[in-house]
């Protein structure tokens, strides 16, 4: 962790040196937009910033943290191109397996979409409004603006404060560090407002249902309230959310002019692509042990397209992991419910069998263990489960 931080800081200071040596044109926020094929002039501070971003991108590519499912990245590209066709070829999309809600876009066109976002958006329209917000930051060159502002205030590390904070907060830091330099900049309220407006207009122009735009923000606030955390999520810490923002989005949705062929919500299209990932996404979410927030996601999971058997399975897994009073019996009930469905995950058989075995009901466990092995012949714990079966057999004989 220390080594990585130093490397990141080295890259950053290299960039600072470039800034110190060279003059640069200023940008004035709203009038500055990025066009197709944009490249910074080589003798500018912006070029130095891009150098840092390019290095971060290389680190990201080799990090092993990417979800490289072509179907998913191609789908995301289609959404981005629909939102902003003129620059979509300049955008390089990376789906990063980090179970927090976050999307970022670096000045060099690198867009990171964290896997936790895909678990929380329920359809293409919700996804599109988030991505449009990030594209707007990119178009308006907000990263460059705050970088220059930092230079003038002699507080050059300020834009990277989230990275710095992440480095000190162990969990988020270790997960978020890869590729985080330059992509986690804390934008000003004006930048956020501009990205909200620009992103909203972009998504409406693309035909995405504006009534979906506030839902993700509402969901994040709900999770935050459930966790009773003083610190907001990583995304909310860089993208301040508020009731005002939700209200604004809702009001704008009412005022938006519906296109002749109706709004696009795109739930089916979204589910078709994301559904194969959901088991992994929810497993990763559970790993965070943010049980109240995960419970909210599970409560919403039916709407999000998760299969009933999987909802029951993960509900049982939540109880098992939480292991508070009565959670074992709750988990048992949920596993049983799960196994009523023919598409229950094989692991449900094993987990219910473990509950039976631990509570001295070996004979009830046996068929479940055997079912597990039959359904998952290449299970990583096959030998262990066979040993359980032998143990139960020998205890009963």
């Amino acid at each position: 962790m220390i080594c990585l931080s130093l490397r990141q800081l080295s890259a950053l200071f290299f960039c600072i040196i470039l800034i110190g040596c060279q003059s640069s044109p200023s940008t004035n926020g709203k009038t500055s937009t990025v066009a197709r094929g944009y490249q910074p002039e080589p003798d500018t501070d912006e070029a130095g910033l891009w150098l840092v971003m390019d290095q971060a991108e290389k680190d990201l590519i080799t990090s092993g943290k990417l979800i490289t499912d072509v179907r998913v990245t191609e789908y995301l590209r289609q959404v981005i191109c629909r939102l902003s066709n003129d620059i979509c070829e300049d955008v390089r999309i990376y789906v990063v397996r980090i179970p927090y809600f976050n999307a970022t876009m670096a000045p060099n066109g690198v867009m990171q979409i964290w896997s936790g976002l895909l678990l929380r958006t329920e359809n293409e329209a919700q996804l599109a409004y988030i991505l449009a917000h990030e594209i707007a930051h990119y178009r308006y060159q907000h990263s460059l603006q705050i970088f220059r502002q930092a230079k003038t205030t002699a507080n050059v590390l300020a834009p990277f404060q989230v990275v710095t904070i992440a480095g000190g907060v162990s969990y988020v830091g270790s997960l978020a560090q890869i590729g985080a330099v330059g992509t986690l900049m804390k934008f000003s309220r004006d930048h956020e407002r501009e990205a909200d407006n620009g992103g909203f207009e972009m998504a409406v122009a693309a035909g995405y249902n504006p009534h979906e735009s506030a839902k993700v923000w509402e969901g994040l606030e709900e999770e935050k309230d459930a966790l009773d955390e003083s610190a907001p999520s990583l995304f909310l810490s860089t993208h301040p959310s508020s009731g005002e923002r939700v209200d604004t989005l809702k009001q704008r949705a009412i005022a938006a002019t519906k296109p002749g062929n109706g709004w696009i919500t795109g739930a089916d299209r979204y589910n078709e692509v994301i559904d194969p990932l959901r088991f992994q996404l929810m497993s990763d979410e559970l790993r965070l042990r943010r049980f109240p927030a995960t419970q909210i996601l599970l409560d919403r999971a039916a709407d999000a397209g998760l299969r009933v058997s999987e909802i029951k399975f993960f509900q049982a897994e939540l109880y098992s992991a939480r292991a508070e009073k009565d959670d074992t019996s709750k988990a048992e009930a949920a596993y049983r419910e799960c196994l009523k469905h023919p598409d229950a995950p094989p692991e449900a058989y094993r987990e219910l069998a473990m509950i039976y075995m631990k509570s001295g009901r070996g004979q009830q466990a046996l068929p479940l263990f055997e079912n597990y092995l039959a359904q998952k012949p290449d299970a990583f714990d096959r030998s262990m489960v066979k040993a359980y079966i032998q143990r139960i057999d020998s205890e009963d004989n």
Binding site: L4, T62, V169, R289, R350, M354, D381
Partner: protein, 187 residues
């Protein structure tokens, strides 16, 4: 005390500190057991974790993590909410999940457990599995974990190294060390 985490910090950061030399021969690891290495290892201690390495902890290491007690966190560093507390009635599969989670949360990528199976820990019943993962720089690493639960406490020995060269170089020495585990008489 977050013993597994401390072990994993060693594992992934390779923090430098003062090492002592462990000579070949019988070495008491903790109150529970001793082992008999056949080569010299450099050792660093941190709490109940003993780390042995020859070429550097980032290249290869053996971690002896001893006596994780009921209710003690096995996943997180400082944030209580992320802890996975050890429970003495955890199944071997649950322990594997907790260890895999600990690796993942500390920055390892694509952590995959393989071939969980019963194994002897000295003369005690235990478990063993293999691990494959990448470090934060995308370097492929391999690992072996063996463990047992004694008197409501968890004992782990974790051997990891770079998939190319270092892990295979000391794999047979690790197996010899595991085979040499001698449980103290009072257990």
């Amino acid at each position: 005390m977050k013993i597994i985490w401390v072990g994993l910090v060693f594992l992934l950061s390779g923090c430098s500190s003062t090492y002592n030399l462990v000579e070949p021969g019988q070495v008491a690891v903790c109150d529970l057991y001793s082992v008999k290495p056949s080569i010299r290892w450099s050792e660093i201690n941190k709490g109940d974790v003993r780390l042995w390495t020859v070429d550097g902890a980032q290249l290869e290491s053996i971690r002896f993590i001893s006596g994780i007690r009921e209710g003690v966190s096995i996943m997180d560093i400082t944030e209580e909410k992320h802890e996975t507390p050890f429970r003495a009635n955890m199944s071997e599969s649950e322990l594997v999940d907790a260890i895999v989670d600990a690796f993942s949360l500390s920055g390892a990528q694509q952590v995959k457990a393989r071939d969980l199976r019963p194994a002897q820990f000295g003369n005690l019943e235990g478990f063993r599995f293999e691990l494959g993962f990448m470090n934060e720089d995308g370097l492929n690493k391999e690992g072996v974990v063996i463990g047992t639960i004694v008197d409501q406490s968890l004992y782990l020995i974790i051997y990891t190294g770079t998939k190319i060269h270092y892990f295979p170089m000391y794999a047979s020495e690790f197996d010899n060390i595991v085979s040499s585990i001698k449980i103290q008489k009072n257990h």
